[in-house]
């Protein structure tokens, strides 16, 4: 115990550099987003009116605070485009997360039931796509889903359809892309809890006469809830702010919030509105983010 405490002191010193780094490059930038979201749009470079200059003295500071405006937030709340974008982002994220859970669960369950040696292999096989580029994986699907792509060729050859189906620029293409990209994030936490589960519990329920679906629903599923929670959060939070997948696979008639933010920033050069959109997105995600942090901390700090 005492040597533990002695070890702890230099270990704490190790925190200093990464701490300063994260404050400077993660925390402080949010201050700038907040500040710029409260300033007026200007046609200049950079395209916003500076709100305040901390060096300029109290009088200037007071005047600057008086000039803070919530116009950008009012705009977000009143303009249908933004309201729809937030609603759409949340709907897409909920739908996609549900799909991921339904598709990922059987795969994780299958993995957990493999013999131990094969489990390691299966885990590597699930992790590998996560290492391959996100963009490349989406691009691979564009290859398959385009008008004369492989999917349509197969469907036509099997006479399932008489004309090529339009896949690209549809919601189905977007959902395929999201499920494809996020599947490892759902499978791995599910597998981690399912693999730790005591198989005798399921056997006992079976021996006591429960049919398989009841064993699953009353024993397996409730016990896997921590994994379900982790998987759901790990997928839901980034999907809400997703940009690349809807941009490349979905149609452009209804945008998600990540896309409107991108558009405001890069096309309209309206940095204040983009910042306000980021702040609102952050507020929407605050609760899931806090939940995720608690989960992550518990998992890492209690040791497994």
């Amino acid at each position: 115990m005492s040597s533990r405490r002695i070890f702890a002191r230099p270990a704490r010193f190790a925190a200093i550099v990464p701490y300063v780094w994260m404050v400077l490059f993660f925390l402080v930038p949010f201050g700038f987003v907040l500040k710029i979201s409260l300033s007026q749009t200007a046609i200049a470079q950079p395209p916003y009116e500076p709100v305040f200059d901390l060096m300029a003295g109290w009088e200037v500071l007071k005047a600057a605070f008086a000039a803070l405006s919530i116009d950008n937030f009012k705009l977000l709340a009143s303009d249908d485009i933004y309201v729809f974008a937030y609603v759409r982002s949340l709907t897409v994220a909920v739908t996609a997360t549900a799909l991921l859970l339904v598709i990922g669960y059987p795969i994780a369950y299958g993995m957990a039931r493999l013999p131990k040696r094969w489990q390691a292999v299966a885990m590597v096989l699930v992790i590998v796509p996560f290492w391959t580029s996100f963009l490349i994986r989406i691009y691979a699907w564009i290859n398959i889903l385009q008008h004369d792509g492989l999917l349509n060729q197969i469907l036509l050859a099997l006479h399932l359809v008489s004309q090529p189906v339009v896949w690209l620029s549809t919601d189905s293409a977007m959902y395929i892309g999201i499920v494809y990209s996020y599947l490892p994030f759902m499978i791995l936490p599910l597998y981690a809890t399912l693999a730790k589960m005591e198989p005798m519990l399921e056997e006992a329920a079976g021996d006591l006469g429960a049919p398989p679906w009841q064993v699953f629903w009353l024993v397996t599923f409730p016990l896997s809830l921590p994994g379900v929670g982790a998987g759901v959060l790990l997928c839901f939070i980034p999907i809400v702010g997703e940009f690349v997948i809807p941009d490349l696979l979905a149609g452009s008639n209804s945008l998600m919030i990540g896309q409107t933010l991108w558009l405001e920033f890069f096309t309209n050069k309206d940095w204040p509105v983009a910042s306000a959109a980021a702040i609102v997105l952050l507020v929407v995600l605050l609760v899931p983010l806090l939940l995720y942090e608690r989960l992550q901390k518990r998992q890492l700090e209690q040791g497994r």
């Binding site: 040597s3 270990a11 299958g110 796509p129 599947l183 942090e293 700090e301």
Partner: protein, 270 residues
Amino acid sequence: MRKVSRLSHFNIASLALGLAFLYLPILILVIYSFNASRLVTVWGGWSLRWYHEFFNDRAMIEAAWMSLRVAVSSATIATLLGTLAAVALSRGERFRGRTLFSGMLYAPLVMPEVITGLSLLLLFVALNAERGFWTVTIAHTTLTMCFVAVVVQSRLGSLDRSLEEAAMDLGCNPVRAFVAVTLPLIAPAIVAGWMLAFTLSLDDLVIASFTTGPGSATLPIRIYSEVRLGVKPEINAICTLVIALIAVVIVIASLASKLSSSQGESAAPL
């Protein structure tokens, strides 16, 4: 203990379908990169034509070089910082600001990239920093050090701490005990962390788009602008090369983790 095969047909089917779903699209992409035909969907025989095209594409090569430099530098800095952070969190017991620290480290793992990218850009603009190689490197370091920290921290958590304690009881000071005992044990996790940081950086489009300046596009930025215009066989070739590079990295990382588990078994059964 009786050993029953609990694997049902349903389990096997869902596993097989799941893995096919994960791998077929990538496999198709790789095969079509060797297609001689200009039409992406018509098979015109095997050819290296599009690889040739890529190696003669000045702008693409420059972007690839930029991406590689950013990935190597940011992964290296991130591995240093992330390892320090992991040591502080798993060995530092309680210290002031710990909750904030761990919060800042775990949030970027799931934070939508548009938010991270935008906020970093606003910082760089406020600091009047010239945007290019260094701003992208800093941005990628900030993101990837969190992944390194998690990988190393989970390894540290599974280590038997009595090894460090024994070293100190035998007269090592804490720093020496760490360097002589802990560091060799977590080295494979550190290697794996570097590889992960490297591939994440190589992969990133959104954060790089926000934080880079004119004239210094990374490979994903260039690929993205090409892909928006439609499928081009040259892109298939580039993607295949990136996949090959990442495959090499994965092989090294998995060798490192194999080393890690065979070393670790004596210390701590996972």
